[in-house]
Amino acid sequence: MTYDPTQTTTAPKSDGPAASVAAEALAATATSRGQAIRQRLQQLLAFGGLAILFIVFAIASPQIFPSYSNVTNILFSAVVVGILALGATLVIITGGIDLSVGTGMIFCGVMSATFITNWHIPIALGVPMAILFGGLLGAVNGFNVAVNKLPPFIATLAMMLIAGGLALVVSKEAPIYFPTGYQQISTGTLIGDNLLPGVPLPRNFPNAVIVFAVAAIIATVLLNRTLLGRYDLAIGSNEEATALSGVNVKKWLIVIYAVAGLFTGLAGVMISARLGDAQPTGGQGYELQAIAAVVIGGTSLSGGKGSIVGTLIGALIIAVLNNGLQIISVPQEWRDVILGIVILLAVYADQLRARRGSAT
């Protein structure tokens, strides 16, 4: 592209190039659309990895693996890690990390039970309260990161320990059982069975998957369409520059960690609803699974870029692997080995793609 300096130099002064401005803007939109398509293609490729896995397992186990009920099974098993990964995506895009989601989720489940079972708050109110409680934990993380300037790894590692301990303390080290009805949030089958009785919708489709889908849509909108998403990307790209651009980075970091905490709270509700009780233990390990889902999905741990669709694909890759390896009876001791290798390959392929992308 060459440009005529004599003409363009005068641009700021005269009205002449108004038309060309409009054309430029149009061209810009067109190019960005081109990029968007390329981006979608990249995601399709990540999706391709998932598809390949699916096909491999489907060939190995044509009767069982691709059956409707097994696919529902896979989706169901992806719900908790998936919801955690949605929040983790937002945090990781800032260049941070959240290790507290595993025990934080357990703590939120315990709080949900405390509200609903111990304090007799109705489910319709207790569940939002539990989710908000997750937001509170997240906000504390955000405060420690943004205001106290602690490294996110440390701030959330400490929260991981604290939340895990407090879950034991609050629950008095015993599971708390929910009233009937609570379990419906996860294992009920609203769609098909109750919602639109006449319509031929799939049966036995668990609510948990619908909640997950709604959560994913909310996360997508948050990231792509709102100020939160923009500032998320900007902070991850260059925090100091974002601050000097007039963005209240501290506030937004707290908001982003808090929103991630809301997803942790939701995951806490979903896991306790699945079980019908709030277990005060466990949760460790979920944080690494969530982060793995995010990174397999192409979000960079150094911040500044990421996508929710990618995270969904990452979560599904993990779920498909766990399910498929069991369905085709791979000995259990080999499954982690294979999972590790697939993670390596998935991220390596992504790297290659990214490098090729930038080279052409």
Partner: protein
């Protein structure tokens, strides 16, 4: 300050833990967070309150953390308790700590499972293999001695996991050799993970007749998985108790379960420790027992007493 003398005996046992004549028993368990261990803890604490002793109870977060259990035991020795109760994750690993306990003349009680050593005054334990075999016997009866049976086991390397798995396998072989046993699957005792595993097993084996869960988390996970698939006609045999398992048995979802007597184990451990402090002689082993319970006997006072929520 005290310290670097190299001979800890100088401060004396009295100043260490057992102030004012109250005996102090340090209990180092295999776990802490799970309901089973909480029940043991409760039994120990109640018994201690009864006899006027003080107990501390600790255990690692998971049954694979052998090193941190050894560290806990070491720290417990440092507190110079009047007696130590220990449930070893790795019966060999604590050899030097056991020697130290012996040389400091602290009575040692083993519980839950034994250690390869004659240092313990007594061992209060359940025979996990026999307990699981008992479960297998009931499984055989429930499925009419034929068909496919799966196992969801909480751990492939811990003693209790290995014993219950092997005991169950042995029980099936002994009682109904025609039954096909699927490869055991390990769910870490995590309910959600065990539920996912169960669902995959059921989907992969539509002709499945029964499933065995080797501890509370595994058993409840099986129940959840079966519920989520709305599968009927499966014989589920569990292990341990807890509210969910009791509910499942009452409602008929679960055929029955083996329970140990964790509260009793805790109490027996403290009781044995007090006897050892006093120098009373006692048998080398105390069998804390196990019980099969199902819909028919769950309200039986003798059974109800060994169950916990």
């Amino acid at each position: 300050s005290t310290g670097n003398t190299g001979s800890p005996a100088s401060s004396g046992a009295a100043s260490g833990g057992s102030a004012g004549g109250q005996k102090y028993i340090a209990i180092v368990s295999k776990g802490f967070q799970h309901q089973f261990w909480q029940a043991v803890k409760k039994g120990a604490e109640d018994e201690a309150a009864k006899v006027g002793a003080r107990v501390t109870f600790e255990g690692p977060a998971s049954e694979t953390e052998v090193e941190s259990q050894i560290t806990m035991l070491t720290n417990a020795i440092a507190k110079k308790p009047d007696a130590i109760a220990f449930a070893a994750l790795d019966s060999k690993a604590a050899a030097s700590q056991l020697a130290q306990i012996q040389s400091q003349k602290i009575p040692l009680i083993a519980f839950d499972s034994g250690v390869d050593s004659d240092i313990p005054v007594t061992t209060a334990s359940t025979d996990n293999k026999a307990a699981a075999a008992e479960g297998a016997k009931h499984m055989c009866a429930l499925i009419g001695n034929a068909g496919k049976v799966a196992m969801v086991v909480h751990d492939q390397t811990s003693r209790s996991g290995i014993d219950r798995r092997d005991g169950f396998i042995a029980g099936i072989k002994a009682n109904c050799p025609n039954v096909t046993l699927l490869d055991p699957q390990y769910g870490g005792g995590d309910q959600a993970k065990s539920a996912d595993i169960t669902k995959s097993i059921i989907l992969a084996n539509p002709d499945l007749k029964g499933i065995f869960g080797s501890n509370e988390g595994s058993a409840i996970g099986i129940v959840k998985g079966v519920q989520e698939l709305s599968k009927t006609g499966l014989a589920i045999v569990g292990f341990d108790s807890g509210k969910d398992q009791k509910d499942a048995i009452t409602s008929g979802l679960m055929a029955g379960a083996i329970t140990q007597n964790p509260v009793g184990m805790g109490a027996a451990t403290v009781d044995a420790a007090m006897k050892a402090i006093a120098g009373t002689s006692q048998p080398k082993t105390i069998d804390t027992g196990f019980y099969w319970y199902d819909k028919t006997n769950i309200t039986d006072p003798k059974i109800a007493a060994v169950l916990y929520d």
